[in-house]
């Protein structure tokens, strides 16, 4: 029997832009289980990052509940959220977000420092962690002296060092090449499995989803598919799902209005918008209806 780790109930997020209301998440109901490697897949502007932020307590929902265990983090205040993150949550970012002035070792030991762990203990743990991500000889290097893949591995070490129950990864391979992506993903999944930790990955890349036990596909703030994949499950089902999604993306060609609004919220939107500079004509939410398989 699987134990629920994160339970999302009727989650809704509406951004107000002047008089206009933009629905970023529309009545999301989902349960993520302990030890699950879960991938939230979606194009930019689908609301996937918003969902992750809600799950991690970085953003407040307009309505609905986010239960971690039995506690509703949507109702927590700043102080208890900080405490909550300190205790239960690890983060891996797309842009690594390492402290440039600190060495790899210090970066990794930082979450432990916030917890109040003494220097000796935390450095030992951090060293061990760096060794297990294959950077045992890079402890005293600054982030600027490392490659992107190495930096992300430091980021992973930092996320896992305090043995959190949940690790959130927001486009963890967004800035990495294919080879490094594979390394990083394998490393992350392996680490999560070792300690039975829940790993929630947000990505737009269907290839990443292959590493997950479960793929939640999000389009325009709605869950369009939620596929669990046990060991040995057929990949083709997923494949079909992705090709479908990609087709939609290409045929539509013009991004919906939503990403523009979410721009400040989602760094990769900007990037993608630059690639497709044509402005959209369709109003927000309308794409969702058409995409529905």
């Amino acid at each position: 029997m699987k134990k629920a780790m994160i339970t999302v109930k009727d989650l809704r997020k509406v951004y107000k832009l002047g008089s206009e209301k933009v629905i970023a998440l529309d009545d999301i109901n989902v349960t993520i289980y302990t030890g699950e490697v879960c991938c939230i897949l979606g194009t930019s502007g689908s609301g996937k990052s918003t969902l992750l932020n809600m799950l991690a307590g970085l953003e407040r929902p307009t309505r609905g509940q986010v239960l971690i265990g039995k506690r509703d983090i949507a109702r927590m205040d700043e102080a208890s959220l900080a405490k909550f993150r300190q205790k239960y949550v690890g983060f891996v970012f797309q842009s690594y977000n390492l402290m440039s002035s600190l060495t790899a070792l210090e970066n990794v030991s930082m979450p432990l420092m916030f917890k109040g762990v003494g220097k000796g203990v935390r450095n030992k743990a951090a060293r061990q962690m760096l060794k297990s991500v294959g950077l045992g000889n890079r402890c005293d290097h600054k982030p600027t002296q490392m490659s992107g893949g190495q930096q992300q591995r430091v980021g992973i070490a930092r996320a896992f060092v305090s043995k959190p129950r949940i690790v959130f990864a927001d486009e963890p391979t967004g800035n990495l090449d294919t080879k490094t992506t594979i390394e990083v993903m394998q490393l992350m999944v392996q680490m999560a499995r070792e300690n039975d930790q829940t790993l929630v990955i947000v990505t737009h890349d269907p290839e990443i989803a292959e590493y997950a036990d479960r793929v939640i596909h999000l389009i325009d703030g709605k869950i369009v598919s939620d596929i669990s994949r046990g060991p040995g499950m057929d990949h083709l089902v997923l494949e079909g799902q992705f090709s479908n999604q990609e087709t939609v993306h290409h045929t539509e060609e013009s991004p919906p209005e939503e990403p523009l609004i979410l721009e400040e919220d989602d760094p990769d939107v900007e990037e993608e918008l630059r690639l497709e500079p044509e402005g959209g004509e369709l109003p927000a939410g309308s794409t969702g209806g058409k995409v529905e398989p």
Binding site: N53, A82, N97, M99, F114, D265
Partner: protein, 465 residues
Amino acid sequence: MKTFDLISMCFRNLFRRKMRTILTVLGVVIGTCAIIVTISLGLGMTKIQEDALAQMGDLTKIEIYNYGGGGGSGSSEAPVLDDKVLKQISELEGVEVATPLARADWSAMEFWVGEKFRFSGQVVGIYPEAMEKLGYQMKEGSYLTEGTGKKIPIVMGEQAAYNFYNVKKRDGWVYPYPDANGNIPDPYVDVMKDEITLRIGRQDEEKTKLVEYETQVQGVLVADFSKGWETQESIFMSIDDMNRMVAEYKKLNKIKESSNSSKGYENAVVKCSDIKYVESVESYISETLGLQTNSMESIRKPMQKQIQQQSMILGGLGLISLVVAAIGITNTMVMSIYERTREIGIMKVLGCEIPNIRAMFLTEAGIIGLLGGIVGTLVSFSISWVINNWEMIKMALGIMSDGSSGGFGMMGGMMGMGGGGQVSLIPPWLVLVAVLFGILIGLVSGFTPANRAVKISALEAIKHD
């Protein structure tokens, strides 16, 4: 988060931006320096002024006069200065002692050594126990004691011996001045050894009656004009003895005790334990009791006021530079927060608690203030040293370049006023106040930026570049 980690992280952040930290600290240094130096100058000048006044007279002494009953008041209730009033005064807060300084008529009391040498100076009646409290120093012997038995105890002023002159000679004086060989001649009498007798006689052509008393010289005072010229040349005796002698003299000469003459002493002295009491005690005596008074307060007050005004102007300038320093700290912290927005975001996401973030920024600002305070104090000490040793430095510089520049010359002249004294005084409390003030400035100016850092949304911050 452990306090040690927090502080070491703060130092790290400050060290990361060395130049900016140094400049900000420099601002605080200049501010604290300005404050410390101006206050120290004020303190030093006050000290010098007080020393100068103290040479003129005891600052804690109030003289009381009561000549001829009521200075022009003409009312029947002329103020009386007697033992009762003195007791009343001595019970006031801050009064160490109140004693009459009664002066006997020259003719009433005659001190003789043998038949040849007569004392020509003042005879002063005083409460015996007051001598020590008035700060009189003994050159030899002991303070005045109450009379015991027949001999009347007396104490001599330092040069009182020279006031014995030879009545048989035309110019029977010995002066305590050096002669051609630089030797100071000895007086006719040795007050500690010779028998001094006190004669009270009738003031007629032929002395029909003469009462003689033997006296006992108990000691010789050190002359100190700040304590009063009496210490130089007078003979001190107990006021009780004096009253007794005067009464006897009057009886002998058949002088009637008029009601007017019983109005007490003409002259008294009050000694306060501290300068701060002088004003209130003096106003009580002059206003409530209606007696005439005199003290150094009337000179000291305006001088003090002038110095205070000067100090305030200088201190104001110091304060302005400190305000500028505070703005500097705020600016530094605000800039630092802008630069580190992303870092703050990361820290928040990684579970750094909000009080820790606030503490981090406040500590950083506080460290800047503390460093500024400490360095400022050190610099102030050297500035103070330069001011105090200006004459010496000027001399040293004078060897190299003839004559100092105009501005410094003027300052040197101003400082020269103090003579060899310390123009700039930095007491320990000033150091403490300066350092604490530095920290306070840091904390106050770091407060707003710290709160700003706390309010930064973690989500926005991570995306900030």
